[in-house]
Symmetry: C2
Subunit: 308 residues, 2 copies
Amino acid sequence: MIGIKNIASYVPVAGVDNYAQGAKFEKDEEFILGKIGSAFLPRKGVDQETSDLCVEAANALFASNPDLKRESIDALIVVTQNGDEEGLPHTAAIVQDKLGLPINVAAFDISLGCSGYVYGIYAIKGFMEAAGLKNGLLITADPYSKIVDPEDRNTTMLFGDAATATWMGENPTWALGKAKFGTDGSGAPHLKVSDGVFFMNGRQVFNFALLKVPAHLHELLGESQLSADDIDAFCIHQGSAAIVDAVARRFEECPQKFIKDMVETGNTVSSSIPLLLEKHILDSEWKRVALSGFGVGLSWGSAIIYRP
Amino acid sequence: MIGIKNIASYVPVAGVDNYAQGAKFEKDEEFILGKIGSAFLPRKGVDQETSDLCVEAANALFASNPDLKRESIDALIVVTQNGDEEGLPHTAAIVQDKLGLPINVAAFDISLGCSGYVYGIYAIKGFMEAAGLKNGLLITADPYSKIVDPEDRNTTMLFGDAATATWMGENPTWALGKAKFGTDGSGAPHLKVSDGVFFMNGRQVFNFALLKVPAHLHELLGESQLSADDIDAFCIHQGSAAIVDAVARRFEECPQKFIKDMVETGNTVSSSIPLLLEKHILDSEWKRVALSGFGVGLSWGSAIIYRP
């Protein structure tokens, strides 16, 4: 059974002081910390491509897992909507070469935004099991600094650049339980790129998330014959402090189980959930954790992971 | 066990007379038919988006399978590197909406080129099995007319627009057997888009395909304890007549088992293999078929499908 063995990440050291950026838009510290949730937004270097962020995260994973050999990797999926090139080739092929992985690796990109990690772990697990593969890398890297207009007050205070690499293999430390997914393309215009610039209708996206995510998590628990009491922690996409808080309040018995950690990262798109898992879950004593990602598409996905 | 239940396609009626186009580049009919392989190259309308081609193929699938209900679809993957929008949202979300599929569908795009169908059938099978989904659509649509320069003699005589839709589900008509995959990102520059225009180093790509594909298929057969005698037909990516013929000649005992059918379609990227399956395999008496796709990345994948 393929599952999560370990996670590593790369968060650029350089970035934007979000208090200073907020001041430019007449937003005070209470707004920046309380509503946005991020005092600092990491930014990749101008010379760093998306594949370079992937390589940094994967190399961190290799460094922290000496038993994981490059030559043993046979699957590689990159979750991104801001890859290196204009559509083709896929970023995963470039990462295969830059990482020095063997050429018998099965590599492709998955195009998803903030829901991408939840989809991605099931996509790579399933693909590996269907194709008989043994050691996979699921990499998330979606640097919105490529597309966000620094003059757009609706988006420039929100997003941070980061990448994560998840080792998927046999004898996992966390197994994948039940999952549920959803897509509503009628909301696609609320989050999109036009002429190279990202547009977000923040109110529509907030309303979508607050309408969908708590209900989706409750359905997932119900269909799993579980209650919120059975979940040790909730790791949901860190869209903003406001949305994490609002979703948590819909779980009246345990809002404190919703992990919020984005002060130094911002909204890192598909990297937000694996960043939480790496920092708060992997080495914890917890047994069962619920995930939920939501965003571009509109798209959402929720899942339960557990100690096998 | 999830496998292939049925396939339908959409090939635009309008297109380019390739003999006339060849004459422009001083290429005669022998070259167009013998080397390129296509007398006609279908072209989507200027108002047709990639998602519209997907919708046409999926609607053809619904029309020919009255027992497949839209409301039963719970997985949707679009294989494309030329989607509707600039990176985000993903085309699969737009297709979900245009097809009127339920919002509980799990939808994403896979970024792969001519190897995409072979990867795609394993990706959707595995994802569906990992996530407990029952009826999936794997759609291929990669209209190169969006990116090919009509003045580029290396590419404009090769590619045709098309889309296919494969119904994946339980009790398949064709099951997925052993598969092998490969990626060599060092060859990425041989097939790429720059400033919106597609570039291909035809000689490098031909040499890559001729070096990799026959050996890969032979390895797959060997690892499956099969010989070419056990395979009823080979459906490989229809890159050009020249490459299909050259690969077939590397199977001295049975070059005639390599199906070549691109006279009216051209190289339809990830749609070429499912177009062959739809027309020549699904309703055949054959029991075991080998597939191989190869292209952008560089990326390749080979698989055996069989009657369960």
